[in-house]
Symmetry: C2
Subunit: 414 residues, 2 copies
Amino acid sequence: MRAEIIAIGDELTSGRILNTTSNYAAHCLFQAGHEIHAMHTIGDTPELIAELLIQALKRVDVILVTGGLGATDDDLTNEAVSRALARPATLYPEILTRIQEKLGSRGCVSLDKLAWLPQGAELLNPDTPMAGHLLIHDQVPIFFLPGVPSQMHYLMDKRVLPWLAAHEATYPGLNSCQRLYKFFATSEMTINREIQELKLAPEIDVGYYPVGHDVHLSLTLRGHDQDLTLQLFNRACSQVEHHFGQAIYGRDLETLESVVGDLLTRQGLTLALAESCTGGLISSRITTVAGSSTYFLGGVTSYADSMKENCLGIEKELLSRHGAVSPETAAAMAMNIQRISGADLTLSVTGIAGPGGGTLEKPVGTVHMGLMGPTGLNLHQFDFSGDRMEIQAITAQTGLDLLRRHLLELKTVS
Amino acid sequence: MRAEIIAIGDELTSGRILNTTSNYAAHCLFQAGHEIHAMHTIGDTPELIAELLIQALKRVDVILVTGGLGATDDDLTNEAVSRALARPATLYPEILTRIQEKLGSRGCVSLDKLAWLPQGAELLNPDTPMAGHLLIHDQVPIFFLPGVPSQMHYLMDKRVLPWLAAHEATYPGLNSCQRLYKFFATSEMTINREIQELKLAPEIDVGYYPVGHDVHLSLTLRGHDQDLTLQLFNRACSQVEHHFGQAIYGRDLETLESVVGDLLTRQGLTLALAESCTGGLISSRITTVAGSSTYFLGGVTSYADSMKENCLGIEKELLSRHGAVSPETAAAMAMNIQRISGADLTLSVTGIAGPGGGTLEKPVGTVHMGLMGPTGLNLHQFDFSGDRMEIQAITAQTGLDLLRRHLLELKTVS
């Protein structure tokens, strides 16, 4: 089935808000085997909404419209649709009731607008006061979803995808296989050249995407025959995995922090950190993973020298002789957080994220790391470039990748 | 001038990659006084690229196309444009030279593709091997920019916007004023109702945007007369600022962490943190701000109880009597990090981010904070909802807002 996604909102066309809902919709539809013909973003302008909707009705089999369904004055989607499709605004008393139940007497009047929908609209979530409805027009289902990401995601998962699955006979999708491989510190061109040498089956669609300091490699295959599609796809995946090995740090939704977490869990090891220039970023990324409390003990963000002394017990003399950004300090940070926390593995990071603080000898981007593990201490020095946030990001990514590679080595040894 | 933005890439229509470049382009063009008619996202499909480009040429005064300019096999924009606009692919020897200069003999052959552009293309960045060119077709400037955000941003700032400014006589923009006000913990409907009561001038466009746990309120005014536009706009801004006062935490690009940083700087105070359930997120956000080393001393991420004992010196007995998630532990964390760091102000956070770890008495979302300052210790308890990352995010946002409000109070007192 071919789909088109229309996102509505002046906040999007003025660039004030990043459109993440269209991305989510595209991802879900693609995974379900549908093809996204195009995604459009337009302002809260009734004429434009009407024009694009009427065009899309002629082009595709399903339409998703997000945004402009709220109760504030700038929400105009329903009015535009009523006019464009000649479906007069109709009062849905059940919506009024829901709103009254939820809010009681508090300012209901201003929410009345939510209860007027284009004639024929079917509520997607009749039990809660959340906007969202389905309109089948000229046999094309048009889903209207809120622009608020959490609500939009909910309705996409719980209503739109199940509806499309239930109507598969009318709106079939292709068998679709896709896998993402994630690389850090390997260039896009290197990956491209090596993929060419692998000579994957020509039906496999290969995509290359630099994402921050990573490269994501995607393999996609879509076909009518389920078994054949899967067989071809799995063969290509094996070729890629066999060739690139540990250069691939993760697949699909895996992140460096989730992969590091898995490795720690499987080896029964604990981790602690001492961060300076990353200011807690590595720690924060590690603790986004559910269950990280089983292997992550914590860390010290020793941003000021006084914290390096008082909290990590690093000697003032060492700091003044070598400076806070030095292999000596990185070593002391890794060893001392090991002693304090008792963790099996510790990582320390000290560097200059900029924009200030650089010198000729130690320019912005100079970073030292110490990795202390069962086999001893390893020190690493880097010379990153970019602005403050880029340097913090690549430092965190590098630190996590060091942990990953070290854990893979430990696994091989044991 | 009316603009249309076309983003190209299968990685976008399959939802694998979030389209941030169109957002950036829209933001820049809008700020420069232009109007964004529509933004489109399509796959690497030559026919679609051609169709959309030809349509856009009839509709708008300037077109931005991003993506598909690279050297990997899936980059097809130039070929599509050559065919669509009957401008045969032409060899640009200067591009070849640049590539050879940069890479020497390393794998040049595969990059030759970059040197073939549609006839009439003008290089945007002739001095470095970065894709990007301008084509003026039927008197409409079409800018082709790389899909890689950092390169796209660079060319947007250094080439596209200066070019449009230099050609203002041909492509004039309106005088455009816009301001964003950011609220935390105030509902969209409340803000809407109060804005209605303020009776701003009807020419002012008002937008309401929930962003995570914040609400952003935008005021926009565009007009031909510069003085009049500015006068009307400033009056509306004063009305809003006067009415909402401290409920507004920041304007435009300000964040809670930058506002807290400004307040600390102006009052000459230092800050340290003791985080548990946020795992370093607050610390990480504070250190994204350039210059934060002048007021941020650091912190302890005492994720495990052992870190609370060994690093923060919290007594085992206190932890076992009250639990790690308790007002008593939050108080001890705030006081002990104050003692260790010597900071003027400290914030502690301990809670249950989930998905595991909740009990009947202390369900997931229970969070305690301690704020220790010159005027003593304040304890706060919260009962948040959402998934792990949502709870971490709202906890961090709440902690930063507590700091902001406390610093505003200190300022009033002193």
